[in-house]
């Protein structure tokens, strides 16, 4: 198989999905953010965003912390070390493939 095609076939499928790619790309440039920020920036609906986040958490790429801002519940999200490494790897892979 051609090198570029192999690079495409080896792309991380968890990150490659457009919804999750948006989330990981956004989390990659912030220290942390809340659910509302991702909802506003990605323009996904709550259900979609929650399911993508659950998938990323399951893969160990995203850390989810339930907390409070004053009396208001807040869900804080950040990329884990594994998540950052996977995203870097994904970017390199995509560059090699294209």
């Amino acid at each position: 198989m051609n090198e570029q095609l192999r690079a495409i076939s080896e792309l991380n499928r968890v990150i490659h999905e457009p919804g999750r790619l948006m989330i990981v790309a956004l989390l990659g440039v912030v220290k942390e953010c809340d659910f509302l920020y991702l909802l506003h920036e990605t323009e996904m609906n709550k259900g979609n965003l929650s399911s993508h986040l659950a998938r990323l958490e399951e893969a160990g790429y995203v850390e989810i912390e339930k907390t409070y801002r004053g009396k208001v519940p807040q869900t804080l999200l950040r990329l884990t070390r594994t998540g950052r490494a996977a995203f870097d790897q994904y970017r390199k892979g995509l560059k090699a493939a294209l």
């Binding site: 912030v30 920020y37 909802l39 709550k46 208001v72 519940p73």
Partner: protein
């Protein structure tokens, strides 16, 4: 991806902070000018720091209050990575190089202006630098608000008017310029905040 950096000024607080800083410089400069002629350099430093530290503290406090009460409940909270390690040093070096180039440029303009009385180059240099800084800032941070380009034009015209009306050297000219620029940035940031509050609503309580 640079969207999160632009998000930081979605409420106009970045611009208002810059405006407040310029107004602080204006106040410090007027107070400094009112000091006795033979006052020591230390006295000048005390005046500058005595004004700027409370002004910057107030700016940070206002910014935090606006984020807490309006921005984070409406469009969410995002924190940016702490600048550190290699990037911190790069930032310092870049800031030093830019400051040195600007200082050398102004020194050269002042020297040149002494030899050629017809054109006041330091004034023109300051005018171009301020308008260019704001234009670059609008291009990078305020692309969501095309009307900001009108503010850039208004600011440039205002600076030209001040350059034509106010007599004296760069030092005398700096105060009205800083006052004008500070007020423009404060008003522009305030308009962004007003527009942000008007066009965004906090989500229903069951958002999460």
């Amino acid at each position: 991806m640079n969207r999160p950096k632009r998000y930081d000024n979605i409420d106009g607080t970045g611009e208002m902070f810059m405006g407040l800083m310029m107004l602080g410089f204006t106040l410090a400069s007027y107070l400094e000018a009112s000091l006795p002629v033979n006052s020591s350099r230390w006295m000048h430093l005390v005046v500058i720091y005595g004004v700027m530290i409370p002004v910057l503290g107030f700016g940070f406090w206002v910014r935090r209050v606006i984020k807490n009460h309006f921005t984070w409940p409406r469009t969410g909270y995002a924190a940016y990575p702490r600048v550190g390690g290699k990037s911190w040093w790069i930032g310092i070096v870049v800031a030093l190089v830019i400051s040195a180039v600007v200082a050398a440029g102004f020194a050269w303009l002042r020297l040149f202006a002494r030899r050629h009385d017809a054109i006041n180059l330091p004034r023109m240099g300051m005018l171009v630098a301020l308008a260019a800084v704001y234009a670059v800032w609008v291009f990078r941070m305020g692309r969501e608000h095309p009307w900001k380009w009108l503010v850039v034009i208004f600011m440039a015209l205002g600076l030209v008017a001040i350059a034509l009306i106010v007599p004296g050297d760069v030092d005398a000219w700096f105060r009205p310029v800083a006052l004008f620029v500070g007020l423009v940035w404060l008003a522009s940031g305030g308009a962004t905040l007003y527009s942000y509050i008007r066009h965004t609503q906090p989500p229903a309580p069951e958002a999460e």
